[in-house]
C-alpha cells in the first residue's frame, strides 16, 4: 500500500514506524518509488541518495526491533534536504555549475541533527542558484515544476523542497529563507513553510547567500509536522556565533494548544501596507476569508500600520547583493569547485571560471552588490538601506505592541507560468514584497495554505508573523487556522493536488 504511505503526514508515519505497523524501510521505499515515478516531471531533486536512505531506514528498524526508544519523534521519517546544506555523503551544488559534483568534507549542523534524529535524508532538492530567486528557474540544473500545474513555477528559491512535498515525494523538507525562500514556495504549492527567528537554527554548513538574513527552517504539509521538524533542527550551536543561546520555543506544545481552536484573547494585526493594490484578486479574497476564520476562532482582528515596509524591498535589494558579492567571492577556482583553465594568471582563471560557473541572477546580484559597496555610493545605498532596516524593525516593534501576531498574504500572486518573469528581474523581485520585512527585522514568520484562488485554482498562503522568539504564538495561530480551514474546506488542501502521471 505504498501509494497510501506517501499521502500520510510525518506524524502519522512516525506512529506507524515506531509501533512497527510498517517498517521505516517500507516507508522510505515508497517515497523513493514515488520519486522515480514522478520526479521526471517535477525535477524537485538534484540528487537521490537511494542506498544511504534505505540503509538509514534499516538502522531505525533494527533499533526499534531491539526495543530501543526512537532517536526522536521523527525517527525513520523521510526528508528532502535543500541542496544548500553540506552533506559528506552527497553532492552539494547550491543549484550552481560552479559547485557541480562537489562533495563537502563536512556536514552542516542541520544535516548532523537530522541524522542524529534518525530522519532519513532521501536526497537534495533543487533551488535557485545560491538561493537567489523566487521561482527556481535560476537553477543551473533546470527549473522545478509546480505539482499543481507543471507549466508553472513552484516558487523559490526553495522550489525543490516545496514541490517535493506537494508531489508526495517526501513528507518533510528543509528550506532556507533569506527574503521568503521558504514561505513563498510554501504558498505557491499549498504547503507549510516556517522561517524561524534569525539565529533560531544554526547556519553552520549552510552555504551563505546573505549572512545577516539567511535562516534555515522546516517545510511540511501540516503545521504539526513543521513543528516536529522545527524542534529537531533548532537550538543553539557553538559552531554558529549568531545562533541564539536560548531554549527553543515550545512550538509542539503550541500546536497542540492551537488545535483546540480557541484563539480568544489573541490579537491579530492586519498590516495595512501588505495588501490591496498589486495583490491578485483571489489572493486578496482568500486572505479576507482567513481573517473571518480567525475571528470565528475568537481572535480580535485589528489593523496596524508599518509605514516603512514599502522600503523593505529596495533596502533588501541593496543589503542582499552587498552581502552576496562578498560571500560569493569565495568561489575563486582555487580550493574547490569549478576551474576553467582559460588564461595564465590566477586572476584570469578566476574571472573565466566565475563567468562560466555563475548564472545570470548570481552575476547580476554580485555586480549590484559591488556597485552598492563602491566608495562614493556606499552611504547613499548600503548605508541608507541599513538605516531603513532599523526603521522596519521599529515598525514591527510598534505593530507587535498592538497585536500578538501580524498577518498578510504570503505572496502577491499565485504561481506564474515558467518563463514569464525570468528576464525581468524587477518583476521577479516583487514576489517577495510581503516576506522581506521579516528577514530584515530578524523576526519569525510562516506560511500556511489559505485555499485556492478562484480565478486560477492555484494555492495561496496566509503569512503569520511573530516577534523574535515568538514562534509559539505563531504556530498556535497557524494550527488553529489550519484546522478550521480544513474543516470548512472539506479536508486538507494538499489532497486536491491533481494526480500526476506516473511513469513506470
Amino acid at each position: 500500500m505504498s501509494t497510501e504511505l506517501i499521502r500520510l503526514t510525518a506524524a502519522e508515519l512516525a506512529v506507524k514506524i515506531h509501533s512497527r505497523e510498517v517498517s521505516a524501510v517500507e516507508v522510505t521505499r515508497a517515497h523513493l518509488d514515488r520519486i522515480a515515478a514522478v520526479d521526471g516531471q517535477v525535477n524537485a531533486f538534484l540528487h537521490v541518495a537511494r542506498e544511504a536512505a534505505l540503509a538509514n531506514a534499516a538502522l531505525v528498524d533494527e533499533s526499534i526491533a531491539a526495543g530501543t526508544a526512537p532517536a526522536s519523534p521523527l525517527a525513520g521519517v523521510p526528508l528532502a534536504l535543500k541542496d544548500v546544506f553540506t552533506t559528506m555523503d552527497m553532492p552539494t551544488t547550491c543549484g550552481s555549475r560552479i559547485l557541480e559534483g562537489w562533495r563537502p568534507p563536512y556536514d552542516a549542523t542541520v544535516t548532523t541533527r537530522l541524522r542524529a534524529a534518525g530522519i532519513t535524508i532521501l536526497g537534495k532538492t533543487n533551488m535557485d542558484e545560491f538561493a537567489m530567486g523566487s521561482s527556481t528557474e535560476y537553477s543551473a540544473y533546470g527549473p522545478t515544476r509546480n505539482p499543481w500545474d507543471t507549466s508553472r513555477i513552484p516558487g523559490g528559491s526553495g522550489g525543490g523542497s516545496a514541490a517535493a512535498l506537494a508531489a508526495f515525494e517526501a513528507p518533510l523538507a528543509i528550506g532556507t529563507d533569506t527574503g521568503g525562500s521558504i514561505r513563498q514556495p510554501a504558498a505557491m504549492t499549498g504547503t507549510v513553510g516556517v522561517k524561524p527567528t534569525y539565529g533560531g537554527v544554526s547556519r553552520y554548513g549552510l552555504v551563505a547567500c546573505a549572512s545577516s538574513l539567511d535562516q534555515c527552517g522546516p517545510c511540511a504539509r501540516t503545521v504539526l509536522d513543521a513543528a516536529l521538524l522545527h524542534e529537531v533542527i533548532a537550538g543553539p550551536d557553538p559552531l554558529d556565533s549568531t545562533s541564539i543561546d536560548a531554549p527553543v520555543p515550545a512550538v509542539l506544545e503550541a500546536v497542540r494548544r492551537g488545535a483546540d481552536g480557541d484563539l480568544r484573547g489573541l490579537r491579530v494585526g492586519v498590516v495595512r501596507e501588505l495588501g490591496g493594490e498589486g495583490y491578485q484578486a483571489g489572493v486578496q479574497s482568500n486572505f479576507e476569508a482567513a481573517l473571518r476564520q480567525l475571528e470565528k476562532l475568537g481572535a480580535e482582528v485589528v489593523e496596524v500600520s508599518a509605514p516603512h515596509f514599502q522600503y523593505g524591498l529596495p533596502a533588501y535589494y541593496l543589503i542582499l547583493p552587498s552581502e552576496v558579492s562578498s560571500n560569493l567571492a569565495r568561489f575563486d577556482a582555487m580550493r574547490y569547485g569549478l576551474r576553467v583553465e582559460n588564461g595564465t594568471s590566477a586572476e584570469e582563471v578566476m574571472a573565466a571560471t566565475r563567468e562560466a560557473g555563475f548564472g545570470p541572477e548570481a552575476k547580476r546580484r554580485i555586480m549590484l552588490g559591488t556597485y552598492a559597496l563602491s566608495s562614493g555610493y556606499y552611504d547613499a545605498y548600503y548605508g541608507q538601506a541599513q538605516k531603513v532596516r532599523t526603521l522596519i524593525s521599529r515598525d514591527f516593534a510598534t505593530a507587535f505592541a498592538q497585536a500578538d501576531v501580524l498577518v498578510s498574504p504570503t505572496a502577491p500572486t499565485t504561481a506564474f507560468p515558467i518563463g514569464e518573469k525570468v528576464d525581468d528581474p524587477l518583476a521577479m523581485y516583487l514576489n517577495d514584497l510581503a516576506t522581506i520585512p521579516t528577514n530584515l527585522a530578524g523576526t519569525a514568520a510562516m506560511s500556511v495554505p489559505s485555499g485556492l484562488a478562484a480565478e486560477d485554482g492555484l494555492p495561496t498562503g496566509l503569512q503569520i508573523m511573530a516577534p523574535a522568539l515568538g514562534e509559539a504564538v505563531m504556530y498556535r495561530v497557524a494550527a488553529a487556522y489550519e484546522a478550521a480551514r480544513d474543516a470548512e474546506g472539506g479536508g486538507a488542501l494538499i489532497h486536491r493536488v491533481p494526480p500526476m502521471e506516473v511513469s513506470a
Binding site: W102, A333, A346, E347, E348, Y381, A385, R389
Partner: protein, 107 residues
C-alpha cells in the same frame, strides 16, 4: 507598493558594468554587458527609493539580532585532515593547492 519610480540621474553605462565585472572577477561577454547595463539600471532606479526616507538620525542595523563576541575555551579539536581539505581542489601538487601564476599579473 510599486517600484515604478524614475531612475536616478546618472544611468548606469556599459563601461560602468564592465568596470564592475572586472572588480567582481567576472569575464562577462559583450552581449552580457548590454543586457546587464539595462537590467542594473532598472534595478538601481528602483532601489534608489531608499533615499526617500529621512534617516539622518537613524542608526544603521547590520544585524537583526545584537551580536557579542563569543568566547570558548582554547582547546584543540579536530579539524579537516589535509586529505579532506584538498579533496575538492581543482589541482593538487605535493599535498598543496596548485594554483595558476599569481605574481606578475596586472602589469
Amino acid at each position: 507598493m510599486s517600484l515604478d519610480t524614475p531612475p536616478p540621474s546618472g544611468a548606469i553605462t556599459r563601461d560602468e558594468v564592465a568596470h564592475l565585472a572586472r572588480l567582481a572577477r567576472l569575464a562577462v561577454t559583450d552581449d552580457e554587458l548590454d543586457v546587464f547595463a539595462g537590467q542594473l539600471d532598472v534595478i538601481l532606479g528602483a532601489v534608489a527609493r531608499v533615499g526617500e526616507v529621512a534617516a539622518d538620525d537613524i542608526p544603521p542595523t547590520s544585524h537583526a539580532v545584537p551580536l557579542s563576541n563569543v568566547f570558548r575555551p582554547d582547546e584543540r579539536r579536530p579539524g579537516l585532515t589535509q586529505e579532506q581539505a584538498l579533496s575538492g581542489a581543482p589541482a593538487v601538487e605535493d599535498g598543496r593547492f596548485r594554483v595558476p601564476q599569481i605574481l606578475g599579473e596586472e602589469q
